[in-house]
């Protein structure tokens, strides 16, 4: 599991059964200073993340356990929206205003 920043999204209309309507986002893994540390990955999202959000990603077999369908070929899922990450007493990255339209439910999944 690691921290990442959402840098884009992927739309794939024709996809394997079971992936249903899961949202696909592109995530750049981050280190403790907020710098990118690895190649970006495509991850499913169950918390309603948006562009620029810092998120908590679960990878590997456990990634699919966060989805509605639990045995699907998924190796990364965004399982948390990171509001604050304290490192050496400083916040990385700095808190940002929530850009989400009011009323949009972010955690209505299993």
């Amino acid at each position: 599991m690691y921290l990442g920043r959402v840098i884009g999204r992927v739309v794939a209309t024709r996809r394997i059964t079971g992936l249903g309507g899961e949202k696909l986002l592109i995530v750049m893994p981050l280190d403790e200073t907020g710098e990118a540390v690895a190649e970006s990955v495509v991850a499913c999202d169950v918390v309603g993340s948006g562009l620029g959000d810092v998120v908590h990603v679960c990878d590997g077999r456990e990634a699919s356990l966060a989805l509605r369908e639990r045995f699907v070929p998924v190796d990364a899922t965004i399982v948390g929206y990171v509001e604050e990450f304290a490192h050496d007493g400083t916040l990385v990255p700095p808190p940002r205003p929530r850009r989400r339209p009011p009323g949009r439910k972010r955690n209505g999944l299993p």
Partner: protein
């Protein structure tokens, strides 16, 4: 399991329900001698009340962690111990 250094705490107000009530730590893997390992930073659930600066045991493999947190939880990494001492080839390199 890996040896790690707790470098931060992670607050996620919106999260998968499996993480409700769990504390999240950011852990940087270390080589046994204490130098940072060539490995990325992990986010792990805390099972031993570890804090920033602690040297810890990091379990970073899903099936073992699911034995702790339940079979259906999307959780892959857990901090399962706070390290008191590390000895390498008979020499104490940490604590002791």
């Amino acid at each position: 399991m890996k040896i790690g250094l707790v470098v931060g705490t992670v607050v996620t107000p919106v999260q998968h329900p499996a993480y409700d009530g769990q504390r999240l730590l950011a852990v940087r893997p270390l080589d046994p001698d204490g130098t940072p390992a060539q490995d990325r930073m992990f986010v792990a659930v805390d099972r031993v009340d570890a804090g920033v600066g602690d040297r810890v045991l990091l379990m970073a493999e899903g099936s073992s962690v699911r034995a702790l947190v339940g079979e259906s939880a999307p959780i892959r990494c857990a901090v399962v111990g706070v390290i008191d001492e590390i000895a390498l080839e008979g020499r104490t390199v940490y604590g002791g």
